[in-house]
Symmetry: C2
Subunit: 387 residues, 2 copies
């Protein structure tokens, strides 16, 4: 186990009716509130009305900024920063999923920074200051509601999709009511669960040894998402399944599960180029990339893969390789049962840009991945395994 | 899953050499520091010197209060409160295990309260204010380094041992270097691991349904402590085993694992009377009480017990009762392998005070336990099962 520092001061407010407290919680941080959200879904499902009512009861000055798209764009972030500076915003309330939260995080740090906010995304500089933010989560997926990560797409420069890390913008509170998930479209349910699973898998595969507790905690979380995603997918008003998924989504990405170890993250970076160039939903891209990545790297540490296969899928075989391949197959079936693609051909992506995407993935960094460090050639091979 | 709120802002600083940062971290909170510890063990193992050196480098005003005993006493807490008020203490640094930390917590809330600090321990009032505290942990056991609990023994009134809960005294930082455990006596190693296991078991057995994620996380933590305690017990300088135990001890009690569920805690309360009247070490008492409690309550929800037996100990039997009894036997063997007592007779405690202890356990509350609510008759029967 490596030395580590764990600090996560997000307050998770979980359960039925919890969104009714949003106004009171927001009012603790000031008068001027930027209400940030995406499109019409929160208006259709009633969350927007509930949140606005609760905020208005506290007589807050509310300025709205909507229009966040999946793979949130830098241009909208810039607009948000301008509003924050002009209107003396005290608090940013993000109502939505990971894209809205990440957009809010980028605005929060940009508004306290006198240079270009994109600097944080192309360097290892961590933002030290942010406008406090709060979250009403409507899509369990990205885990951004209590994470130190933020991923933004630069729509002004080749759609580069890059992430940054900071403790400054960890939400002051995140309200999670599993009932808000009832109205999610099937495709979004599947993509969200795929994203959560990927956060766990990226953390699991590490070359750091003697990490028994976190291995076992991740295994428990993986089992939970594997079990509950198909239930919510079939029965979208199943509170219990949604509660498991939503809580797992938070735990999967609040940093607890990678303390003392180093996650891999190559699959995320390989996928980012797919969603950047083809605007593929992140969770769908991960369903394609994760099995391909596994096929490419498992021989690098077959014992870790065999442990994953036996402890989670109960696949036991004297021939470890056979067991691992069976595990990957089982995982692919799980994605298929959620009607997710597991091949690029299913989403009409052809191999023509593999070289370009590999180069883009490596820009601003020499290699990707930590479990196994990957160079351009490796990444192209993994894209080929996605076909 | 029940509605819940999770908030734990403790900063866990984990690993080799981390105690060297204690001065700098302490200095962030002010000049006047109460250095609180137990007896001579931290002087013998060098931790005291290291901490003092680091504090002195920051030119802090250090006032020392030593003498914390296992089952920390109210009288010393009162002394600490007096010092804090008189000396304008800004920060309390607890160097030790759960007893020292709990003593520091009680001092921290007492110093900010104008009535009797014992009020918090005999009512459901939660302290709202506390002097900030920090921790250098030397014994993994109580989990107090990031928990909201604090247990104090009232040596002025019949040695009543009572707990309180508050978010106000959650340590600002807790420094955990597994190497500090190398010098622990064997008995303390065993008792600490028994306490950690008990925190997990108390949380596991709940009547709340649909708690799959937390069930599985607890199972992972239980497996880790079961595996690593015997290793550290035999090989007391095994860093990897200590790292697992220390991190598990924190996770076991930082509230994460009981979100959305209600733990039982009867075993703790039954044991508290043993350690109060006979000054038995808490972890040793738990090794006796936990199996007895299990034998008494398992029929109340055999499925939950069977799940524990199969998922953790891989005991499978069509006859669930047989499997559960086998699990309890296996657990008893685990305690025995750590040379812990599993019967009161082994620690020369006779049945003469069972009635009195049951009455004491029920004082200030009608029943104990949540998995199965216990009245006096039940508690006496459990004490009898401890014979």
């Amino acid at each position: 186990m490596l030395n580590f520092e764990f600090y996560n001061p997000a307050r998770i407010v979980f359960g039925k009716g919890t969104e009714e407290s949003v106004g009171e919680r927001t009012a603790n941080f000031g008068k001027n509130v930027l209400l940030h959200y995406g499109g019409g879904s929160i208006k259709k499902n009633g969350i927007y009305d509930k949140v606005l009512k609760s905020l208005k009861e506290q007589n807050l000055n509310i300025i709205e900024l909507d229009g966040v798209k999946p793979n949130p764009r830098l241009s909208l972030v810039r607009k948000g920063i301008e509003i924050c500076k002009k209107e003396n915003i005290d608090f940013i309330l993000a109502v939505g999923g990971g894209s809205v939260i990440d957009s809010a995080k980028a605005i929060a740090i940009g508004a306290k920074y006198d240079k270009d906010v994109w600097d944080f995304f192309i360097s290892s500089n961590m933002a030290q200051e942010a406008i406090p933010i709060g979250v009403v989560l409507t899509i369990p997926a990205a885990g951004s509601e209590s994470s130190s990560s933020c991923v933004i797409t630069n729509d002004e420069d080749n759609n580069y999709k890059r992430g940054t890390q900071s403790l400054a913008y960890i939400p002051k509170f995140a309200i999670l009511n599993p009932e808000t998930c009832y109205s999610l479209p099937k495709y979004q349910i599947a993509c969200g669960c795929s994203d959560i699973l990927a956060h766990l898998i990226e953390r699991y595969f590490t070359e750091v040894e003697n990490v028994e507790l976190s291995d076992r905690l991740i295994e428990g979380a993986v089992k939970t998402i594997l079990n509950n995603a198909p239930i919510a997918y079939k029965d979208n008003t199943n509170y219990d399944a949604w509660a498991e998924i939503m809580w797992t989504g938070t735990i999967a990405h609040n940093n607890l599960l990678n303390m003392g170890r180093i996650g891999d993250w190559a699959s995320h970076q390989i996928e980012h180029e797919l969603s950047a160039l083809y605007d593929l939903t992140h969770g769908a891209g991960l369903a394609i990339v994760i099995p391909a990545w596994m096929k490419y790297v498992y021989k690098h540490n077959i014992d870790k893969f065999y442990q994953f296969a036996t402890r989670i899928f109960h696949i036991i075989d004297e021939d470890k390789e056979k067991a691992v391949l069976k595990m990957i197959e089982t995982l692919e079936k799980w994605y298929c049962d959620l009607d997710l693609p597991i091949k690029l051909s299913q989403v009409n992506i052809e191999p023509i840009k593999f070289e370009e995407m590999a180069e883009r993935a490596l820009l601003h960094r020499g290699t990707i991945g930590n479990f196994k460090k990957l160079v351009k050639e490796d990444i192209v091979k993994i894209y080929n395994l996605c076909m």
